[in-house]
Assembly symmetry: C2
Homo-oligomer: 422 residues x 2
């Protein structure tokens, strides 16, 4: 008997029919002898509907009231899903985030989970034979106010609950059937990855793979929660398992480098400060100021200095560009730079794989592959298990495909110790 936490997103519960499908899924797991906790998001476009309503009375509503409003979305989902389970003859109870004691900080609309204090209640429900349905995305702060967790919140709720109740694993259902070696929409030869480490998944998520939210993977890594990314609509697909040390050596004792996949990200922009005086502390000045503004900076590159001048470039989410442009120009002026260039037409293409660090040839092979494909690299960044390059947005698909082939990911068979299946 396993204890499973299963999370279904908004599209999986968008209609009464789909809710019934999820209910049968849960009942099947329950009847097979498992204890089942389910975390759900708000139904399909319910959140948009509530946002429209809010903005029709107030163009700029308070964050507290926004959370009060939006949290009703998941409360509807959990109640209806519990009813649908009951209709199949299995007892079920639903809970809000507050009811299972998901305690967050005070940041309305983007709260962080601080503790889960209501697990006994959930365990009691399970021990009495219930399927327990919990509202994702929401919590309650110390003052008893309702908060929401913001982007990726429901995945995080599921992983956090799985950690708190000591679940055997946490299934995250979505409309894709796992993590792929590349985005199948731009790389038709991409394959589903069977197993991944937290570190690899973190790099993939951080570099654009949208299957799992970065913060949920971080949480899972911190508490050792095994994640199983699965498809809502393809019940027979095996999905992808994310865990501490995936056992990928069972059939192949080679020490070959493990490339798990190619991620890409079209959501960032590149900002360059031109001809900045190359004196010590200049980068510190710039990025301290940007940090104070809460700007997320990803890749940072400082060019080799010429005549005491250098170019400093960084990437940042496209959404932030508008609101930081003024400050960046001001900083550039203050430090005596020539001016600011903004390029929103870029793609970040990243190669992710454990053990890459021990193989310096990997980076060289990556750059050579892109050069052979006549793709110009404008920025490079490396970590122990990831190499990211910034290229022109038009070259994105081409770069992903070329790297996918060059690193042997096109095969249907076991390749580089990563089992891949169609």
């Amino acid at each position: 008997m396993a204890l499973v936490v299963a999370k279904f997103g908004g599209s999986s519960v968008a209609t009464a029919e789909r809710i019934k499908n999820v209910a049968s899924r849960l009942v099947r797991r329950h009847n097979a002898g498992n204890q089942v906790v389910c975390v759900v998001s708000a139904m399909g476009d319910n959140t948009d509907h509530l946002l429209d309503l809010a903005h029709s009375v107030n163009p700029n509503p308070s964050a507290r009231e926004m959370d009060m409003l939006l949290s009703t979305g998941e409360q509807v989902s959990v109640a209806v899903l519990a009813m649908a389970v009951q209709a199949l003859g299995v007892p079920a109870v639903s809970h809000t985030g507050a009811q299972v004691g998901i305690v967050t900080d005070e940041s309305y609309t983007a709260a962080k989970i601080g503790a889960i204090v209501g697990v006994e209640r959930l365990r009691k429900d399970l021990d009495e034979g219930n399927i327990v349905v919990v509202a994702g995305f929401q919590g309650i702060n110390e003052a008893g106010e309702i908060t929401t967790l913001g982007r990726g919140g429901s995945d995080t709720t599921a992983v956090a609950l799985a950690a708190a109740v000591g679940a055997d694993y946490c299934e995250i259902y979505s409309d894709v059937d796992g993590v792929y070696t590349a985005d199948p929409r731009i790389c038709p030869k991409a394959h589903r990855i069977e197993r991944l480490s937290y570190d690899e998944m973190l790099e993939l998520s951080a570099n654009g793979a949208g299957v799992l939210q970065l913060r949920a993977v971080e949480f899972a890594s911190k508490y050792g929660v095994v994640i199983h990314a699965r498809s809502t609509f393809l019940p027979d697909s095996k999905g992808t398992i994310i865990e501490e040390a995936p056992d990928r050596m069972d059939t192949n004792y080679s020490e070959g480098v493990v490339i798990s996949g190619i991620a890409h990200d079209l959501s960032e922009a590149k900002i360059t400060m031109r001809h900045v005086p190359d004196r010590s502390g200049i980068a510190a000045t710039i990025f301290t100021r940007l940090g104070e503004m809460g700007v997320n900076v990803d890749i940072i590159i400082q060019d080799v200095s010429h005549d005491g001048l250098t170019d400093i470039s960084f990437t940042t989410p496209m959404d932030d560009v508008e609101h930081i442009t003024g400050t960046v120009s001001e900083i550039c002026r203050e430090i005596g730079g020539e001016g600011v260039e903004i390029n929103t037409h870029i793609a970040k293409v990243s190669l992710v794989g454990a053990g890459m660090k021990s193989y310096p040839g990997v980076a060289a092979k990556m750059f050579r592959t892109l050069a052979d494909a006549k793709i110009n690299i404008s920025m490079i960044s490396t970590s122990p298990i990831c190499i990211s390059t910034v290229v022109d947005a038009d070259e994105c698909a081409h770069a992903v495909q070329a790297l996918h082939t060059a690193f042997g990911l096109d095969s249907e068979e076991e390749e580089n110790n990563v089992k891949v299946v169609r």
Copy 2:
């Protein structure tokens, strides 16, 4: 400076536009120096929409999950109304029933308020200058489960909160502008009543006047909360004040009988057990059995006995008739009665007024008035401040009009010490 609790029903907050209207109403009260607490119901047809959703996944959902689902309706209303108040520049916070500690019993879908334990929070919000918006109709039980109060719940929430915070009065807004001497839809000469005692209002509510829910009036009477029934859509109308001892003698020291109004009720049926042996304890047997089934019995009549046989009749809500018919027939057979007659085409017409008891002539005048109008009375029931008669449903409007005229309620001026205005 007054502390006011104002309650708005579902039709008053059915659209974003109407919510904005309610918000301006509240802001005007607030800016006039009052502390304002507002209780709201779910938006218009939101509850129906949620019921449809529930029934589309489960024809018979559990009451607990139903409350979990339906309570989201008021949570949406309070958040959006708070936002609408904020848009007018006045600080506002919303609260669920749970957040202000409206503790109920365990009866899902028809819970009763047992205590209000979160009033400090509400007072703190008020002291900080907020308009406080509270979800009506809902509470939380001792186990932390969400409950709803059922029919008339939001009125009851408002009155209970008014009692708990020591409000100066509780305004109940609806689409009628107060309590009338009779239902204006069937009695065009009916007038708004300016002041009423709790007892009179209880009789009017219990006998069919739909303006205020009986249980809310009972609560108000118990804790001495002054209710002001007002119109949402006619801001200048003065409405009706319901209080312990209305001051109606100011201009007229007559000891004349005070008739406050004529109520009518078409929602009951009359059930008669024919030719029942007239032995002691027979009524006890019948009504104990019905009480055990949870049947609400209103008027009971036992006819004068002939040859040791009698007829026993009672009225009960039409909605219950179907489910009790079998039992009633069974009881009738057991006690040796001849058979059961059911008449669903009846009207209860009631004359309500304080001090009536001291004027035996009132009943006589009532019966004579109906006789003169050729209306046959089939049942009679009296209390210290109310005389009810059961007549044929077709005669209902005629009976109300005749009594309204006979008891001098048609006048536009002060009449029988009740101030009435058009």
